[in-house]
Symmetry: C3
Subunit: 652 residues, 3 copies
Amino acid sequence: MSAPALGVCYYPEHWPESIWAEDARRMKDLGLSFVRIGEFAWSRLEPKRGDLRFDWLERSIDTLHGEGLKVVLGTPTATPPKWLVDEMPDMLPVDENGHRRAFGSRRHYDFSHEGYREECARIVTALAERFGNHPGIAAWQTDNEYDCHGTALSYSPVALAAYRAWLKEKYGTIDALNTAWGNVFWSMEVDDFDRIELPIATIADANPPARMDFRRFASDQVVSFNRLQADIIRKHSPGRDVIHNFMGRTTTFDHFDVGADIDVTSWDAYPLGFLDDRSDRDDEWKRRFMRAGDPDFQAFHHDIYRATSNGRWWIMEQQPGPVNWASHNPTPREGQVRLWTWEAFAHGAEVVSYFRWRQAPFAQEQMHAGLLRPDSGEAPAFPEAKKVAEEIAVLDIGAESGQSAAAIVFDYPSSWAWEIEDQGAEFDYFRVVFDTYCAMRRLGLSIDIVPASVSDLSGYGLVAVPALFAFTENLTQALAAFEGEVLLGPRSGAKTKDFAIPESLPPDLPADMLDMKVARVESLRGDVPVPTGAGAFRFWREFVEVGPKAETELASADGEPALVRQGNLVYMAGWGDEALLEATVKAMAERAGLSTVDLPDGVRLRRRGRLVFAVNYGNERFDLTTLGLGGTAILGSADLAPSGVAILEGTR
Amino acid sequence: MSAPALGVCYYPEHWPESIWAEDARRMKDLGLSFVRIGEFAWSRLEPKRGDLRFDWLERSIDTLHGEGLKVVLGTPTATPPKWLVDEMPDMLPVDENGHRRAFGSRRHYDFSHEGYREECARIVTALAERFGNHPGIAAWQTDNEYDCHGTALSYSPVALAAYRAWLKEKYGTIDALNTAWGNVFWSMEVDDFDRIELPIATIADANPPARMDFRRFASDQVVSFNRLQADIIRKHSPGRDVIHNFMGRTTTFDHFDVGADIDVTSWDAYPLGFLDDRSDRDDEWKRRFMRAGDPDFQAFHHDIYRATSNGRWWIMEQQPGPVNWASHNPTPREGQVRLWTWEAFAHGAEVVSYFRWRQAPFAQEQMHAGLLRPDSGEAPAFPEAKKVAEEIAVLDIGAESGQSAAAIVFDYPSSWAWEIEDQGAEFDYFRVVFDTYCAMRRLGLSIDIVPASVSDLSGYGLVAVPALFAFTENLTQALAAFEGEVLLGPRSGAKTKDFAIPESLPPDLPADMLDMKVARVESLRGDVPVPTGAGAFRFWREFVEVGPKAETELASADGEPALVRQGNLVYMAGWGDEALLEATVKAMAERAGLSTVDLPDGVRLRRRGRLVFAVNYGNERFDLTTLGLGGTAILGSADLAPSGVAILEGTR
Amino acid sequence: MSAPALGVCYYPEHWPESIWAEDARRMKDLGLSFVRIGEFAWSRLEPKRGDLRFDWLERSIDTLHGEGLKVVLGTPTATPPKWLVDEMPDMLPVDENGHRRAFGSRRHYDFSHEGYREECARIVTALAERFGNHPGIAAWQTDNEYDCHGTALSYSPVALAAYRAWLKEKYGTIDALNTAWGNVFWSMEVDDFDRIELPIATIADANPPARMDFRRFASDQVVSFNRLQADIIRKHSPGRDVIHNFMGRTTTFDHFDVGADIDVTSWDAYPLGFLDDRSDRDDEWKRRFMRAGDPDFQAFHHDIYRATSNGRWWIMEQQPGPVNWASHNPTPREGQVRLWTWEAFAHGAEVVSYFRWRQAPFAQEQMHAGLLRPDSGEAPAFPEAKKVAEEIAVLDIGAESGQSAAAIVFDYPSSWAWEIEDQGAEFDYFRVVFDTYCAMRRLGLSIDIVPASVSDLSGYGLVAVPALFAFTENLTQALAAFEGEVLLGPRSGAKTKDFAIPESLPPDLPADMLDMKVARVESLRGDVPVPTGAGAFRFWREFVEVGPKAETELASADGEPALVRQGNLVYMAGWGDEALLEATVKAMAERAGLSTVDLPDGVRLRRRGRLVFAVNYGNERFDLTTLGLGGTAILGSADLAPSGVAILEGTR
Ligand SMILES: [Zn+2]
Ligand SMILES: [Zn+2]
Ligand SMILES: [Zn+2]
């Protein structure tokens, strides 16, 4: 890993060519290293079929390259032009009401449309052939933000045909499918794959395993769509990184699967927009962190996306000011843009790239801030980026992030499973995992995210596997071999891979690993917590039978087992609230020999190699020395102001 | 009426045949008498057109019969198989947005589809011919849960054609329809029945009488659909009861009309699911009774469904544990399954049948509890059912329920009328009637439900007719002849049968019965009650002119008549809150010579013949002796614990 | 302007001809002068194509005319009959989900359908030829309530074709459109007008300028639809006023544009319905004014609609009692119908016409009160109307309303702009303007509404231009020449006419008028106000840079400029709450030499020529002498009871 660097997203096609050189110069002066361009420019690259116009793009790349800037070139496939859509209107996706979606914004294509895939291959090939070896091209981005605006799922005829083919491939015989799905229930049995329908518009809920397969299929379509482009780029542009740029709280496709086909995962960090429109926090919390963002939300994504491409990750779009798409779009507190940037580096980001260079005065995103205002004046993020650029130029933060003390298994299929069968209105996989993550973070732990396919957990002191719908063989073996503490539950191993209840009841682990059964479960109103000795369950609790090899470590006030331990495995029989999760994790960390601290809501720590980074999302100063960490600050100081960043060296 | 019995719903097709015998033995040992089977098994009974495979069903019936269990055989028409749907895809219903619904769950058929009706006749005939005289068959169930998931209304071309024919049959001439509907308004007049459209997708509201006729038509379609099956069964299976199994809070079709064509009404009692997802109670109440269910909701349905088939009724599906379909699915409090069972017997049920024998580990309802867990272990309901079985085996609770002291008119068309014309967001027929019912229940009264077509009310001390949209001639005459107390209003007789305001204004009764006019009405925000001397109106109030033959018995604080009396008729000019309804009912009961008590929220009484049953839904013990009822307990004791049941003999 | 008069809406086709004469006599006796008829009677005027039956209408007009009543004859085009719809079913509009709407209520036509326009021309010509010179016809109403039930927007094929033609007319070349819309963004460029699509069903938001043009187009369709009828009527019925009847809080088309083609604007004043279903007030306020209506809502519309046809306006439909269409429909407080009537006269209405004469006992509006009950008895509004009739018969309130002290610019396109780009969930143009209006009203100011095209503001002391999305050249020049105080902001001049951010940033005014820039904006949660020295911003605030020619008059607590002044122009950099708006307006009024008072919530004043009208919407008496206005009451008294009206002469 090289030293951290900064970048920016830039749209030369939006501005007169006369200002390109000046823009490049200002970027360079600001201390930027990378510039992403091109990802929405198809109508300029090919205004009519076959009328390829790449010269302007080359001039733009040359201009940037001339200033020593490294270009990330995006394939323009997220915005097919109108002439192409008119040629094959059935490339437009169909929503869950059966309505065909329309041209006029972006991401208006169906992942299952073969004709569109061919068009993507054609334009990507043309671009890769032309620019693959251009010295200014440092990396490629495939498409942009798969699934953004809910586009990974389409209910079109082409999706249905592809789904049937996918099922045939998976099951071989229709009898195997009928059995796996339990189609005897409600006479859902069919005698041919061509009788399978999309799992929408049913009178009552469609069959969970059918829905689960549809979700798996849809995820696979995204993966193969991306792979098509990645393969072409690798062929024509050797030595360049292939990147895809993910969004926040997006679980509709398996990012590990896409990540396996690319070199670098990037994502879009919009802390204020996300807090407003995709956080489960209550109003008081949202008000409090309105101008800072949720203290854990970005970090959680950093840790996920560090995992999806084996450690290599960027922020491709970093929020620089108010966005245009949340219900409320406040301005960040002074210093937060710098904080967010440093926090990304703390979690191992190679590059943080701001979105965007200059605010566009026209079209859909005219209210989205940039580093520059529409009149080219400096927006508030500009000096903050400059400050970071100066700081990273002089600081050595080391090459490697290193393994964290704790790990959490994050599994995309589990999010589909519990969306399909929430069994309680509040049950949400992302939320359950995030709650566990936050509890660890409040205790100062640094965390790695690992996939459910993980086969080796050695090196970790503590591993949590919350709400994993079905164990993989890999994971079961990894847990069996693991010597650190393991926190399971709720709902971990609640299903077989076919979305059925395991024969010997959950969790689906052998009794010599965990001798207990979840005999039944219940979902609960938010105003009816189930108290335990330390905190409570909320929304969800399980009634378990504890076998002779296991023991009840904590009971609910009504006498039911709340925590069951067998060796190093602990099962939490419900959805722990903050207090219960924190107490449980703290005790387990202690047992695992991990030291913890008690952090206030807004302050967070992250160890990167030999350094500990501290950030303050809160509204009050915080004195880090009260944590007793020791060490000396190589950036900032132990007296951490709101929006402050400190890097400590030599902490315990 | 024979002694009460228990039953269970069973799906032999879900389990290996090797365990059928053991299942039957355990059912018998548990003390069950009836087993419902077959109602969703079409794809196993006829996997391809004409390929009838009834042998497995016969073996299953034989197995159950061999243990002395009585089989209720369901016709499988709620789940037509895919091959049939593919033969005639226009059998699928169309929703109110004009979208065709899809195969993949259940109830996916249009009641107006003639082709599907023929298919139903074919399969029912085949089943009835094969099993009609099998000694193990005690009864038949037609289809299952008409209208569940909102399926009684379809807006399809076949529905439109049938609706036009129905209108032509009803009105004869288009002029008669134009007049009855008031089509001169907004130029809605048409010159032919073929110009009539379905009452959807209109710019402003469709015409109320048109909507009302559509609802009547849709109800009649359910009735004739059911009658088709009932007639076939009666022909081929003499001496067996024909049952249909209704749902809770379902008013989309007239259950009295369906009930007239069958021998026994059954219904599905899911107290916890219903409290969560179809109760008007506030959050505090829902929290309080979360594990017990609403104390009046089940009883109300018991009393309705005792009426729909002239006194003969069952519970076909009794909730045994958490269900899978409400927003929150808690586990019942220990003892509640027994309580619910006994409460049904208190209200005259012949059979209480649990849903289901063993929790299915697959498909849509895998999170729905049964008497057995998926691993065949006993679920918590199992010992409770066993206890009831033992109790009913030794107790003689008498043959007849007898007539109750009070009656309430419940009328399905009124629910359609006020859904069509609520005139205030909260106005809901079910809720208005239920409020009246609850007031009577808190006073300890036992209640019969009677239809609006009732022609004789003698024997009752008190009759309430809340919110009846239009009087029938029968009822007007019955009220004129009746000597007990009658409570009318609000909105009783507010319309003619053609959904117009009566010429001499509501209530549509002759002045020598009730000399008053509802000059105007108002609907009110929930936070603006209209106080009276005793309680208040909420949501709805009426301004009445009282003629010389009537008198104002209670006035609102603003001086308007609140209760108007003429002889034994009392009109309540608004929607009474708890206090007003209770005070009014109490005074009228007293006048009628009925004794009342004041019950706490969770305790309810029900007289059945010589016995009084007491149940405790509440969270505290209650001492029944404080009510001064006298008598001695033949089950339980006067010290009624939470979830307790007592049967008193010799009470006043 | 003649003396104020009363009228009523009447539907002779709803009643037997035998009672028409008696109805007319009672109208006359009540003191009514005008009767609107005919606007929904197409099916009676032409039951089959070409079968014109105008005789009954003539008899009805003759009957009314015989009593000296003046008839307003409505064209029946809001309710095309079924035979016509069946002839051309594509005349039905299509909603934003792409669903064709249906016959069965009213307003079921697409403004872009040429065939329907021809039919309208045909029936209007026939009516105008037959009745154009009838002495009983005093005026005509074209159609009724354009856009009511959201009908100004249709997404049909005919709308698309008309939209494309409209765009071609506007832009000439497709390149001009691509540039104006900023279509380079997201590759939205097209090479032909036939590639333009309707701005619906897009994956992300459609392009704001595209949406804005669609809204302009849709408004123009209403305008040309109306002009077609107005032209025909003028040709055949010289000397009669042409009226269109608008609704409340309807901003979907430009009422100034429609108003330019007619002689008199009328509107429908339903104070209680509007407070319940289209007011932004909180629950406490709605409860408090439940039976009176919002104290400013009617006045605001009176002032808007006084502007749309150059001062001539009526109320065509005045609420007389409970309506049938709001969520809650309470009865008005005694005296309010009289108050509403007088308030309209205070604002310059020529006629107040009640809706409707007699409550219809049938069809959709059977729960809508009239002056008479369905049984022809007098409803509560009847005596109130009678009282007004007697009062206006003896009072001389002068001929002219006169110019007000203050003015507010109201601009329909701005409402479309901020609906398209709210940038914060609460941002709503109507609401922002209404807040400004209410602040002025609480200070006792009388207000004129002026359009954004206004070219002369002389005579006003104070002009407010809140949230105007783009300045017109006229207005910029008018402001430059204006010597009174001007209150701008928030968001005033935030865009160019092409819906882009102005090059030199907002507000789009030259620096010699207002030397400041809105560098950035933010939208805020409702629970996070931004305090200033006097009140606070809520929902919206702007960060401005103040140039040397301007000065900061008030700062926010965080030090940002809140009010910026340059000469007589003041810019408010946010959405002021009540306190901030009131303090600002008060200070500016003082500076402009306008005297203000502090009115309680329910009391409002309105100057009309030499008179000051006072009305009391509140629930407490109010002593007007405490305001120190002086003058003597020629109606009512200074002691203003709830629902009281006073007219003061000789006030300061
Ligand atoms: Zn649709
Ligand atoms: Zn059921
Ligand atoms: Zn109207």
